[in-house]
Amino acid sequence: MSKINVTLQLNGKSVSAEVEPRTLLIHYLRENLNVTGPHIGCDTSHCGACTVDIDGKSVKSCTIFAVQAAGAEVLTIEGMAGADGKLHALQEGFREMHGLQCGYCTPGMIIRAYRLLKENPTPSDAEIRMGISGNLCRCTGYQNIVKAIQYAAAKINGAEYKEAAE
């Protein structure tokens, strides 16, 4: 089967590579473009470690062919911090609230949380938990991930983060 050109907008820049149609987006990103922020966890569309944002939707990049994303705008963790290196509110939140331990799920968590907060800027803790239900973390028990996302929501909304009583 002949290779085809897949060009897309990755973190605001045009990228392209010649790949077989069967190349999954996660492999296109990691193997062809050396963009290794999105991780391969389960490889079966359960764990969410490979989550990227495609045209305003959170998508598991292990379950879409690169060719299906041709022409799309794709956001990965590499595109979250500012050009000056300033962390995105979510990255800051995960650091401040200890929202990670081993860090394997973090790029997928942050990209998913980014879209969640775009759609629901003031989520309840329960809404966050449902919103990240497609992302598995085996370290934290999610408590600090929820706090990290609340921290980011407050910061993005210009409000002061107040930790909910437990």
Binding site: P21, D43, T44, S45, G48, K60, L116, G131
Partner: protein
């Protein structure tokens, strides 16, 4: 896991997609959201030589009201079903069920057409489509035809669709305003298929059940239309005896396999439990 090789096609109209599919015989598959097909391709359970992506066929998307019917394009995603105000008002059971399918990422991509078309007994929408009396619109080289959801499923991954046909839309005559509805799904975790699930649509007259339809998910080779269970509550006020009759009738037609979700006996029992819960909740919601 790497799928087998294939040629990729991206038609921009339905007629082009149908012509492509016919030209490759059984060696081609259409792909919608791909969240059933791509996992199967990664496991090499499906190895199409040609993949026809329907993503650019705009006429397959969206929810509209046509006359007395709701028409849902096959490429409408679960996320779009959940957001649809038309469906929230006319067919709220679809939103309730869609929120129980997989997880947010999968719902952004997975489509209603993909959920119902391939005859996966684990999928949630087929039982609902049977329950609602939905009609599937199929387009093939011989033209368009309609198949009732209740006649569509022949076995696990075996359906009434011919290899050259594409599911284009789902047509549903919505139940009257004030109808009762519920979808009850027992699952181990987010993203899991149902251990057993039941969907109910009912109407009341003077406080008793006037009409009722029940569909069961993942307790047989296909979704099941449980007409005897539904008949067991018509004319009742959903008392304990009626619920017990309906549960027993649902269990009688369930034939689940033992799997990681439980023994066959347990899953059959849960088909009855989900039926009773869905009936109770639908009854409580109904007006009339």
């Amino acid at each position: 896991m790497i799928p087998g090789s294939f040629d990729y096609h991206r038609p921009t109209s339905l007629s082009e997609a149908v012509a492509l599919l016919s030209s490759f015989d059984a060696d081609a598959r259409v792909i919608a959201g791909g969240h059933s097909l791509i996992p199967m391709m990664k496991l090499r359970l499906a190895t199409p030589s040609h993949l026809i992506d329907l993503a650019a066929v705009g006429e397959l998307r969206g929810v509209s009201a046509e006359g007395g019917e709701i028409v849902i394009g096959a490429m409408t995603t679960q996320h779009e079903l959940i957001a649809s105000e038309t469906l929230a008002a006319r067919l709220p059971i679809l939103r309730e069920a869609a929120l129980l399918i997989a997880d947010p990422q999968v719902r952004y991509v997975g489509t209603l057409g993909g959920n119902v078309a391939n005859g996966d007994p684990g999928n949630d929408m087929p039982a609902l489509m049977m329950c609602l009396g939905a009609v599937y619109v199929l387009r093939g080289k011989a033209g368009e035809r309609k198949v009732a959801a209740r006649d569509y499923y022949q076995g696990a991954y075996a359906t009434a669709a011919n290899p050259d046909e594409i599911l284009t839309a789902i047509r549903i005559a919505p139940p009257p305003a004030g109808h009762g509805y519920a979808y009850e799904k027992l699952k181990r975790k987010v993203g899991d298929y149902a251990t057993a699930a039941a969907g109910v649509i009912l109407t009341l007259a003077n406080g008793t059940v006037a009409t009722c339809a029940i569909g069961l998910t993942n307790v047989a080779e296909t979704a099941l239309f449980a007409d005897a269970a539904a008949g067991a509550v018509v004319g009742s006020k959903m008392d304990k005896a009626a619920l017990a009759r309906a549960s027993a009738a649902a269990e009688a037609i369930a034939s689940p396999a033992a799997d990681g979700r439980g023994s066959a006996e347990y899953r059959r029992k849960m088909a009855g439990v989900m039926t009773a819960r869905a009936l109770s909740r639908a009854f409580a919601r109904a007006n009339g």
